[in-house]
């Protein structure tokens, strides 16, 4: 989800300028992970060691997009079925959070600051782009700290930051609340909807309908959190989990590591994404998260409430909770029975199993969030694989 370089820039971007070293050297860690020979050699090795069918799930939407964009499923032997997980932060943000954000944005005294891809996600009746067209002050931010900067520069306006995401965005979002408190800002709030990966995997594994036999854990979440959290899942459910990166070679290597474990009956946590992930993770990032947030039950769009699967602001930061600072009326949603995003997000069905896919549900007129977000599984199929569907 979030690359290491972006993670750092989010921390470093309190100044007006983000300075990046993006010369030739920076791409060094990308091109070799898209190398045809290495990718094909890995695919061959997978084919050589597989003896029976396995269902594997990549958790993160970024990984789903790599699979679709590079056609990795075409390279893999037919015994491997890749199903797509709930790791799209935009897709699992509850409808009422989006409705609340829109209601806040439409208030004349509020400036709503959001990550870019939340703007097109449909709420019950509108989306943030439409709210903007109606005159709402909606700003798109690359770093949450920009919201603090806007609050500082506009003391007469109420600035609300839509703080969503997984463990990847949580440290930077926590940093934002911490910075606001340090500066004593009184015109800043956060509408928080944070989700955590391990409880979601637990919920999927505990479901009666679960088919997933091995997981590719999200590399960027693990860059922050490390991977000790997965040990108990592996023990309890006897399912292998491999922390994977986001480039084609990363995904193929993670699949190979899972297949090797499955074929010999092992269930361990392994780390494929060693260039970014360490066992304990990023300690300062975890500390700032703990300082600002506490674990809470969390609703996931399309899935429902999963116990202890989210983050909320701690009592010391309650003055920055938009839910407390504004009278936010809860609006319940009218949902089309046709959308199967619940099953898609749990890996039970593929986007192409949906009768509305690419017909009544498209990125311009989405029935559900997975068709909207840059990380949504339905959008990945729509953008990259329609020729396969058509033929």
């Amino acid at each position: 989800m979030i690359s290491a370089i972006r993670f750092f820039t989010q921390f470093l971007s309190s100044a007006a300028t983000i300075s990046l070293q993006l010369g030739k050297s920076a791409m060094k860690y990308i091109d070799e992970y898209r190398d045809e020979r290495i990718a094909k050699a890995l695919a061959r090795e997978i084919a050589e060691c597989i003896t029976r069918p396995w269902v594997l799930m990549e958790i993160c939407g970024g990984q789903t997009h790599t699979i679709m964009r590079y056609g990795l499923d075409e390279l893999l032997p037919s015994q491997i079925e890749l199903v797509h997980g709930p790791g799209c932060p935009v897709c699992v943000t509850p409808l009422e959070t989006i409705d609340k954000a829109i209601a806040l944005a439409l208030r004349p005294d509020v400036t709503l600051v959001s990550y870019g891809d939340m703007l097109r996600v449909p709420g019950s009746n509108s989306d943030l782009f439409r709210a903007k067209a109606q005159g709402a002050d909606v700003r798109l931010a690359y770093s949450p700290l920009e919201a603090v900067k806007i609050a500082r520069a506009n003391p007469d306006r109420k600035i609300v930051f839509l703080a969503i995401g997984f463990e990847t965005t949580a440290p930077a979002n926590a940093m934002t609340a911490w910075q606001a408190k340090r500066e004593g800002l009184t015109n800043f709030s956060m509408l928080v909807s944070h989700v955590l990966v391990p409880p979601a995997i637990r919920a999927l594994l505990a479901s009666r309908e679960n088919r997933v036999q091995g997981f590719i854990a999200p590399g960027h979440v693990c860059t922050v959190m490390g991977y000790q959290e997965y040990e108990s899942l592996v023990r309890e459910f006897a399912v292998p989990i491999v922390v994977g990166g986001f480039e084609p070679v990363d995904i193929l290597e993670a699949v190979l590591m899972l297949v090797k474990q499955l074929e010999c009956g092992k269930a361990q946590v392994e780390n494929q994404y060693v260039r970014s992930v360490t066992y304990p993770g990023n300690q300062p990032a975890q500390e700032i998260m703990k300082k600002v947030f506490e674990i809470a039950d969390q609703k996931w769009r399309g899935i429902g409430v999963i116990p202890r699967s989210g983050l909320r602001l701690r009592a010391e930061y309650a003055t920055y909770d938009a839910n407390k600072n504004f009278d936010l009326e809860l609006i319940s949603a009218d949902e089309p029975a046709e959308c199967i995003s619940a099953q898609v997000l749990q890996g039970l069905r593929k986007p192409t199993d949906c009768p509305a896919f690419a017909i009544r549900c498209t990125p311009e007129n989405p029935l559900g969030a997975p068709m909207v977000s840059a990380e949504g599984a339905c959008a990945a199929y729509y953008h990259y694989r329609r020729h396969a569907v058509a033929s």
Binding site: I18, G23, L95, G116, R120, L140, I303, G304, E364
Partner: protein, 353 residues
């Protein structure tokens, strides 16, 4: 615990939003929403043969001369950016729209909508840049208009330019003329204008500065037409990038387009910025690049002519027109697999993470 039966019955998806009742920013993105707007609002109102071709320029016949006419409005923010400014862009954009029809650009009009309070010095710099670009392109600004609007009703200055040019005999280019077997040529690396603007707007700094590729392409087109007048079609992939331009050609010509990802050049700095921002260079705007669809037999020769011109030094053959996958643009990835290169609905949005 997850109660799947219950949650499937209570799927948390929104109702589809009602029909588009408001103009959104996405309607100006050059993607599908823009195409919808043209199809549903403008075409029914103004329908005529010249407009219905939906080319970058209209071609009208006046006493046996084929005149190309085009108009474009420039609302770029910031007004000055690495590699150009709104003044030079207003010339290059319109000159290129004429050139993509094979026309020799001759005259421009320039209309300025100025926001009250704009420093006179800024306006003078813009006008001077526009004049220099027009001189360099060999076009004259023969008429213009000025309006000043209240503060907040515009953003600094908006410019509209209309261009008039003459199409030489035997030149007949249109996005509806691509045929299976044709080759697709691209004049250089993509994404520079969009990234230069974004970097300037968002205060992103790179080790080496990304400059806009803004340039007038009519002399490049002239060199290509010297090889053969039978070039099927040209497009400058501006808003919506390479992907939108090729999707439009695939749609209008009712053919498929198959690209080779390796052949599409992207400068390292642009690639790095796109990786970081979660953008795909295929959708990022260019202001000094062109795509040409040419018959296979002359493709190499046209490519050679492009590579001999300063604006086409890095020209490449990037793909082929196919019979299959009508209306779709597909791309062979470096891994040898194939994917669709879709047209975006609206603007590309930076990803959350």
């Amino acid at each position: 615990m997850l109660d799947t039966e219950k949650t499937i019955a209570q799927i948390s998806c929104p109702a589809p939003l009602p029909a588009r009742d408001t103009v959104l920013l996405g309607h100006g993105s050059g993607g599908k929403l823009s195409a919808d707007l043209v199809r549903d609002v403008f075409l029914p109102a103004f329908r005529n043969p010249a407009l219905s071709r939906l080319d970058d320029q209209a071609v009208v016949d006046i006493n046996g001369s084929r005149i190309a006419v085009t108009t474009d409005s420039f609302v770029v923010k910031p007004l000055f950016f690495p590699g150009g400014d709104i003044g030079s862009l207003a010339v290059h954009g319109t000159v290129n729209d004429l050139a993509m029809g094979g026309a020799q650009p001759l005259f421009l009009t320039a209309a300025f909508i100025i926001e009250e309070g704009l420093p006179m010095e800024v306006l003078c710099r813009v006008v001077s840049s526009l004049q220099q670009a027009a001189d360099a392109s060999g076009v004259q600004v023969v008429t213009g208009d000025t309006k000043v609007v209240e503060k907040g009703s515009a953003d600094g200055v908006f410019i509209n330019t209309t261009g008039i040019g003459l199409i030489p005999e035997g030149v007949e280019m249109s996005p509806s003329q691509a045929r299976p077997g044709d080759r697709i040529l691209l004049s250089g690396p993509i994404g520079e204008h969009g990234i230069a603007i974004l970097a300037q707007r968002e205060g992103l700094e790179f080790e080496s500065r990304v400059e806009s590729d803004s340039a007038a392409l009519h002399t490049l087109v002239g060199e290509m037409l010297k090889v053969t007048r039978a070039i099927r079609c040209m497009r400058d992939p501006t808003r919506g990038g390479l992907s939108s331009a090729l999707n439009e050609i695939a749609g209008q010509s009712r053919v498929g387009i198959e690209l080779e990802e390796r052949a599409i050049l992207v400068r390292e700095e642009v690639k790095g910025a796109c990786e970081m921002l979660g953008l795909d260079p295929l959708y990022v705007a260019n202001e000094g690049k062109l795509i040409a669809i040419v018959e296979a037999s002359v493709a190499e020769e046209v490519l050679g002519a492009m590579q001999n011109h300063p604006h086409g030094r890095q020209a490449k053959m990037i793909g082929t027109v196919t019979e299959k996958n009508v209306g779709l643009v597909t791309m062979r990835t470096p891994l040898g697999t194939t994917r669709v290169v879709d047209m975006l609905a609206g603007d590309q949005l930076p990803r959350i993470c």
